[in-house]
Symmetry: C2
Subunit: 339 residues, 2 copies
């Protein structure tokens, strides 16, 4: 009767015994140290194979202090911008031999923020990337402990805090979009903003700046959630406003919802009203009319954030933040106003 000894994963000592060498020697082989005879290395590698040995990550990182996990804190994951940024982080991390973990911060409330941070820091993490697209991210970045490697990825143009940041210049983007519409001959440009609770959004700032520079009147901001249905509801109202000829939306989903509401009511886009979006999701090029929008390279944003974090982890405490400019993509949803 074989005793039902429960399975125990093989450890370094088992490999050492099988290869008839000492434990440190196995470690040396695995970590590619020189100073080990070829025949011993051979025996060790065979033993590793046959036993199916895998190093215990916890023990390894505890003893060596090296960590190979980077954590992402984000207010959401499935939305287009978040998902693409995350993808950029993951790809860059994987190429560098690191793994990424993801924790969602449910809201900007202190309760949720601290819960997310506690959860994340319970892992042996080398550093944290905060996606600062919303209030949850902003608050999380503030609440993280000092001396922990932290970088921010987001849409600001300048940084208030002292944390290194990878940014997309939303302010410039907003200005470009607005200037383009003015350039087409529109007297002014209306704006549907996202639910940014703080005072400033880069997109909104850029819009206001462009209007100011052109001496155009500044209409009341329309607030909306990020999703298409919010755009649709504004569309229902805008269809009845005769003075609106151009609308700059805070993201593509809102723009698409808006367009659908307008066309449902017989308002022609771009004939009666020009619409411009923000993000350049793949599908908007297929829309009818296809959407003029501002392309954001979220994947590059994620990659830059990871690169920055690597620098911070390596001791470069104030690594230089980076900012890239988005690009206006002109399609069919914008045109000169009638008359």
């Amino acid at each position: 009767m074989a005793s039902p000894k429960p399975y125990r994963a093989p450890v370094l000592a088992d490999v050492a015994k099988a290869a008839e060498v000492s434990v440190p020697t196995v470690s040396r082989v695995l970590n590619g140290s020189k100073y080990v005879a070829p025949d011993l290395a051979q025996r060790v590698n065979e033993a590793v194979q046959t036993l199916g040995y895998r190093p215990n990550g916890a023990a390894r990182s505890m003893r060596s202090g090296r960590r190979t996990l980077v954590s992402v804190l984000a207010g959401a994951t499935a939305n287009y911008g978040y998902a693409r940024t995350l993808q950029g982080v993951e790809t860059a991390a994987r190429r560098a031999g690191m793994t990424v973990s993801i924790t969602v911060v449910e809201s900007g409330d202190a309760e949720h923020v601290h819960a997310a941070i506690d959860l994340t820091l319970a892992q042996p993490t080398a550093g944290v990337i905060v996606l600062e697209f919303d209030r949850a991210g902003i608050n999380a970045a503030k609440a993280l402990p000092e001396r922990l490697p932290v970088v921010v990825a987001g849409g600001g143009s300048r940084r208030t805090g002292h944390v290194p940041a990878a940014l997309i210049d939303e302010r410039t983007a907003g200005r470009q979009a607005t200037e383009y519409l003015l350039h087409l001959g529109h007297r002014t440009v209306h704006h549907i903003a996202g639910p940014t609770e703080g005072k400033h959004s880069g997109r909104t700032d850029g819009w206001r700046a462009a209007l100011g520079a052109a001496g155009a009147p500044v209409p009341q901001i329309m607030r909306a959630d990020w999703d298409a249905s919010a755009g649709y509801r504004w569309g229902e109202r805008i269809a009845g406003m005769s003075d609106v000829t151009a609308v700059f939306c805070a993201n593509d989903d809102i723009a698409l919802g808006l367009m659908r509401a307008l066309t449902d009511r017989g308002v022609d886009v771009p004939g009666d009203i020009s619409v411009i979006g923000f993000d350049d999701q793949p599908l908007v090029a297929l829309w009818r009319p296809s959407l003029t929008t501002v392309d954001q390279d979220f994947e590059d944003l994620g990659a830059r954030a990871f690169g920055l974090l690597s620098q911070v982890i390596d001791g470069d405490v104030d690594a230089a933040s980076s900012v890239t400019a988005p690009q206006l993509v002109v399609r069919e949803s914008t045109a000169a106003p009638r008359g």
Copy 2:
């Protein structure tokens, strides 16, 4: 001159010294053991606060054997289905006090598969969830070592392997969609399939089954990548085929690309050709015409996968797989054939 002693994160011993108790006592307080006097607990908690102590996750998991990291292996992350499933996993994991890590398997090639597995298992992971929507996922699931808690999340209807699985019944979904089109009066239904390299896709199986049951002719399958441009290219060809009156697409992106190509060429949807999609992405309801499609509850899929993994980790080696049925959502892109 204060010596520039480098910062060292506080450890249990520091807390113990500050609170004037022994190290094990601190551990007991932190882990909520009874058998500790209230005043001591009080002192310990204060010391933890002032020192800003955080347990070392690596040491903790090494000693206790408990792990709080679950790993997701996936062929992609930003696509709608993947992103939503991931979201479901993350939410469920977070509620259970666990964190999720994500590693992308670049392709089904052995090289990429093993690289991804090595990377993932270098972390102290409690178990792995494989997203089996593509060849990369399928191969990864096969290549994972035995005795590691593994579950699969995907679109099969039955499982060949012995690994517990959370599934969406794509076969039933494909059948429903096809049956609906036949029911509208179409003589047969064409099908644009995804790039599934293996012989069987649940969606395709269901389509074939429905045609067979109705005695309808089975047209040649059209193969496409998952993205909209692939659908567009098929649309260019289909516009010239007079015998096509209904198309069942393997996902929404393909369907949208197809519809755009058709309408670009003056083919009316659904007047001339009915189109049906798969996934029910939020935006497809806004399309014009809005897309009839099959709704998949990916978030629920992710949550079920995590629940299943929890069971496996807790020792229930053959936890029961679960399957849910998707739901047909009828909108404007489908109608009875002309005449």
